[in-house]
């Protein structure tokens, strides 16, 4: 690679090949249509082609690849969830992430940092112990640590939070990582494209056609397509898709905002989360602090960011890192989180034959990108729900069989 880089640098023109060429006209028929060209959609297309030999696939994206929640998250990958179902599922994802760069031949900047979830109260600490035990039982590296260990690993943090919310301990999860989210989507997209999948950006689905209870095609703003199977992998736009088919879901859309600071010298190589203060922070490889908070309080289908958010976040963040008062915020943005009542996704088959749902990704979608793509591809190829996602079926709400996942980001305990 360094040799290639040197040659590239000495060239007068820099024609790096495009990851995926300009899209061609739509074909009249595809075996599978995937709505949504984010990480999940691309991963699903990739595994459909690679593991199941299904290549007559179109990925339709209304904007550009990875421009939705894939490019708006805070890139944290971890598996220290609360329920056995969640732990097994996200652990499979972490293991897939670790090999992705090799699979893609692309640097996804996967960096294992260690992940601290701070507890400021007795009840939070109790939840941490519970999570640690569930994690250990499932073979996940997770333990409760005291103030001394936190102080050693995260210097510069005020463990007393200026006296009003002292840190009592933390859940430490060594495999907690960050990755470059765009590269994950691009890597999957290139892998899928090289295996024959068509990627159509700036193509919006306007209707899904059915005959009886069976999918027969989709209408787009670039023409009609016939297809046997449609997978909706659109996260925050899910209600607009399910409305087309009259499928009712418990999803509610709340904006989730995040921001980055100006770049500074590396001082923090861990990921720090506080459920009580509703903040999470890590330092990117460029030196920026990537910071997020909890979701906005009211339903909104918009990606507009607000000053209210930065004000609130800064207030909490300065409790942990007082020296940050002189740092500037460089960018802020919002994504639309599709929140479910049990903080677990909705995946698999639906009452409409040939329509599959991959939704309810709330604040936990990026870390599930590989496993979601893999299990959804299996589900679609076999028309049978993969065992890992069986607990996340849509019908669990009609059966009163919820998951109860409270290990999701910035959920209060």
């Amino acid at each position: 690679m360094p040799w290639r880089l040197l040659k590239f640098g000495l060239q007068s023109e820099h024609n790096e090949p495009r990851f995926f060429p300009e899209s061609k006209p739509l074909k009249s028929h595809y075996d599978v249509v995937i709505i949504g060209g984010g990480g999940h959609g691309m991963a699903c297309a990739y595994y459909l082609a690679k593991e199941h030999g299904i290549t007559n696939v179109a990925v339709l994206e209304q904007g550009y690849i990875g421009g939705g929640n894939t490019g708006r998250n805070t890139t944290i990958v971890r598996s220290n969830y609360l329920t056995p179902e969640g732990v097994k599922f996200y652990d499979t994802s972490v293991k897939l992430f670790e090999d992705l760069a090799d699979d893609f031949d692309l640097n996804i900047f996967y960096s294992t940092r260690g992940h601290f979830t701070l507890a400021h109260t007795d009840s939070a600490l109790r939840t941490m112990r519970w999570r640690a035990e569930v994690n250990k039982h499932q073979g996940i590296d997770s333990e409760v640590v005291g103030r001394e260990e936190i102080a050693k690993e995260v210097p510069y943090m005020d463990l007393d939070c200026n006296g009003h919310a002292p840190v009592m301990g933390a859940l430490y999860h060594a495999p907690g990582s960050v990755a470059r989210h765009d590269a994950v989507a691009w890597g999957y997209a290139r892998g899928a494209y090289n295996r024959g999948v068509e990627i159509h950006q700036k193509t919006r689905v306007t209707a899904i056609r059915t005959q009886g209870d069976k999918v027969v095609g989709v209408d787009t703003d670039r023409g009609q397509i016939s297809c046997n199977k449609v997978i909706s992998m659109v996260a925050g736009s899910t209600p607009r898709i399910t409305e087309m088919l009259g499928i009712r879901t418990p999803i509610e859309i709340f904006p989730l905002q995040a921001c980055v600071s100006e770049p500074v010298k590396p001082f923090m190589d861990t990921i720090v989360v506080s459920g009580s203060l509703h903040v999470y922070v890590s330092q990117s490889s460029r030196g920026e602090l990537v910071m997020g908070a909890s979701v906005d309080p009211s339903v909104l289908h918009s990606t507009r960011s607000s000053f209210d958010f930065v004000e609130g976040l800064a207030d909490q963040m300065l409790d942990l890192f007082p020296f940050m008062s002189r740092m500037k915020i460089m960018r802020q943005w919002a994504g639309m989180s599709d929140i479910t009542p049990d903080f677990a996704p909705i995946m698999g088959k639906t009452p409409i034959d040939g329509f599959y749902l991959d939704a309810g990704w709330g604040t936990w979608g990026f870390k599930a990108t590989p496993v979601s793509g893999k299990t959804m591809a299996w589900t679609v190829a076999n028309d049978k729900t993969h065992e890992l996602i069986e607990p996340f079926r849509l019908s669990r709400f009609a059966d009163f069989d919820l998951v109860g996942e409270k290990g999701a980001a910035s959920v209060g305990h």
């Binding site: 607009r240 999803i251 509610e252 339903v299 507009r304 209210d308 009609a398």
Partner: protein, 93 residues
Amino acid sequence: MKLLDCPGIGKRPISEFDYVGAVRIPPSDADEATWADYVFNRDNAPGVMRERWYHRPTGRWFILERNTLTDEVVGLVDPADVRYKEPNYEVPA
């Protein structure tokens, strides 16, 4: 600071309000499927929604019509309009 333009009391900081959620009417004498639908499922597509907001400083409740695509408050609803008959919660023998 973000402001909420409440037709009841004018522009106030949104941090003064608690968002309670959509105004929903429970079914009466329904079967399990209808109850499950009421308890979990939501009318979640973007559009104008009727929602309860609680203004903490004055202790007042408002039912606002708000566009969930543009975040604009478009109207104030009279609580009498969303009044419903108390459902029959008795468990059949």
